[in-house]
């Protein structure tokens, strides 16, 4: 591989690290290694880990304010709020959650300020004997805040391609020589999850131990409500709703660059004029296919920039929005290549 290609591959690897983290953590949970403890994620941006969540509830601790309500599915129930604790507003709750954690995943922030609070929380997790895995871009400014933990010898580097990953000893051992990028492990896990109907994920092996993952996921797990009224409608209807003006937001799995196919339902007119935005970028669909089920929107999504919420915002044309109901996303599929 020549130097530019290598650089590109390194950058790509760093951007899709949370895909590998999700695969690894889900495998750990499925194997029973986490016991009755709770997997906890420390983050300063809005993210979701759908494969780990297929194994049971996750606790999220945020070190920055968040502005959306997202949901998890309850067996035989209505969508319930995904449990996200604001570490600044609810420090006692955050501490209590960490005391019950068996695994703590730390999404190292892009900036140091946010990472200082996160490092203190990670230290609590270690005190509670939780296994710790830190991951992020190598150049993320937040790494410096964890130097203390590194110096204590509590964390070991893990092979992760272009990303930087540190893990506590037990986890590093579980990761093995292949490190985070264990394609065999990922393929096996995907097969298990699909057979057990815990997730609809298809993993295809590509060159050089790289993978192509296709995830189909209930869109309710990704719907992000910006207003309490919409959040309560989602909880009541159990659908990934747009609001009555046609505005909606969707969490993206992993934040990695991907191809997305979304089925928009109950739209009353063409949606070609929809506004679609991710970070500071406006997006146009690759294709819009109108069927009896609704409008299939095909998108090529860039990576979520470091330090940004993995949120895709959509607004539909006025005439596409019904007067007597809500549009929703009825199906969602994401395809990610790790190379």
């Amino acid at each position: 591989m020549n130097a530019p290609d290598a650089a590109f591959a390194t950058t790509k690897a760093a951007l899709i690290v949370d895909v590998w983290v999700d695969l690894f953590a889900a495998g750990l949970a499925r194997s029973g290694a986490l016991g009755n403890g709770l997997p906890v994620v420390l983050t300063d941006t809005l993210r979701v880990l759908p494969l780990l969540e297929s194994q049971g509830p996750i606790g999220w601790i945020h070190t920055s304010p968040r502005h959306y309500q997202d949901h998890v599915l309850i067996a035989h129930g209505q969508p319930a709020p995904r449990l996200r604790v604001d570490a600044a507003q609810q420090p006692a709750d955050a501490s209590q959650m960490l005391r019950r954690a068996s695994l703590c995943l730390v999404a190292v922030p892009a900036e140091r300020d946010s990472a200082v609070a996160m490092a203190a929380l990670a230290a609590k997790a270690l005190q509670a004997r939780a296994s710790l895995l830190l991951f992020g871009m190598p150049q993320a400014g937040g790494w410096g805040a964890f130097d203390g933990l590194v110096r204590q010898g509590a964390l070991q580097p893990v092979e992760a391609g272009g990303a930087r990953v540190l893990a506590s000893a037990g986890l590093a051992g579980a990761l093995g020589d292949a490190g985070l990028h264990d394609a065999d492990r990922a393929v096996a896990l995907a097969s298990q999850l699909t057979r057990a109907r815990q997730a609809d994920i298809h993993v295809e092996r590509m060159d050089h131990a790289q993978l192509k993952l296709r995830l189909r996921i209930d869109p309710v797990l990704l719907a992000a409500a910006g207003s309490p009224t919409l959040a309560h409608h989602i909880a009541h209807e159990g659908r990934a709703l747009f609001n009555s003006r046609g505005l909606g937001a969707m969490l993206l799995p992993w934040g990695a660059p991907c191809q997305a196919r979304l089925l928009l339902r109950n739209v009353r007119a063409r949606i070609d004029g929809s506004q679609i935005a991710l970070g500071g970028q406006s997006l146009s669909p690759l294709a819009v296919d109108y069927t009896e089920h609704g409008a299939f929107l095909k998108l090529a999504l860039p990576a979520v920039a470091p330090g940004r919420d993995a949120l895709l915002h959509l607004s539909l044309p006025r005439d596409a929005v019904p007067n007597d109901g809500f549009c929703d996303i009825g199906a969602a599929e994401f395809t990610v290549e790790t190379a």
Binding site: N36, L38, G56, P57, G59, I74, A75, H76, G77, Q78, A80, P81, L83, P91, A92, D93, S95, Q96, R99, R100, P228, T229, H232, H233, A235, H236
Partner: protein, 394 residues
Amino acid sequence: MMDLSSTTPSTFAPSGLAAPRCLVVTFNRLVPADQGNSRRIMQLVRLYKNQGYEVDLLYHNEEGFDPALSHALAGEFARVNVVRSRAPKHIQPGHVCRIVDWYDRGLDAAARDMHRLRGYNVVHVNYVWYSPLFEQFGSDVVKVLDTHDVFGERRAKYTAAGMKPQWFSTSYADEDVALRRADAALAIQKEEAAELAARGHRNILYLPYVEPALRPFKPRGGDRPLTFGYLGSGNDWNILSMAEFLSKMQARGVPFPHPIVVAGGVCRHVRDGTGVIKLGFVQELHTFYDAIDIALNPMVGGTGLKIKTVEPLCYGKPVLTTLPGAQGLTHLWQMPMFDDNAALTDYLFDHFGRAGGSSALEELTASAATTRQALDAEYDGQVDRLASWLASRV
């Protein structure tokens, strides 16, 4: 009844600075809390909150769910999960219900996941057929069951009154198994607590239903005639009771010289021409109670919480009740009680058969105030017992 001397220290790790957490499980729609059972449940929610608990709700949706309720519950509870009810609720011949047929196993996974996320110190379920939920929690979680009623052979109370049994009624054996799953089972009436204790249960605590006093007990002023009133929903016990009472009153052959106001869903079942003033559904209770001087409770029977016996005392009004209506409160009742509606009717005509009657009203009001004080004292005492017990276990 509950032996507080034999409490077992908790093995649950101390939670540090975070508030202790309680999970409340119910099928009742809690907002607005305008039914007896929802009001009782919210009484316990307030109790836990006053003890410093953070309270979550697992709502077993049998009474509807909508965005407004979602919003209202989010304001009351730290976390809310809603599970659609798929309980089969079979009623066997002879009107026998088995707890296994009324408990929804769909609650198990939701309860487990909530506990994994939140780490409860206490789980509080309502009604005996929810006790199987306790199996999802380890011995480190305190288990409280609010019985709301005695459901063992409850059908017999209906048949004794000549009515068809309604709703849940189980065997004593089934109910005993359910009660034994709880660390503490709350009884809403002292008689019920005694009955359950007599069946060998040592984890019973009597906790009466009390709501805050909203009006003082003070003499009536103004030019309004002395007015009697009855407020009740349209359930079978109320319909039967009201019909019998009015029948007895009419049988006297002379009109009662004071207005009798009837309010609530029972109005739909009160015939016209019976000499009462029907208000229908009353949105704000104080508008009814402020318009009357003496509340009537002519119950011929019934089970569980007798909210109409307690509620007038919150509005500063005395209550004339039959014994079935006072069940659970007879040990502290200071006002007259009547064996049946015939005796109640006799009392009314004897003491209020002529215009006036203010001195009798003053005596009744004083007795009502004393009753309220006794009820408050008893409630405070029982709350202290429950709180102490919880503190020793959590």
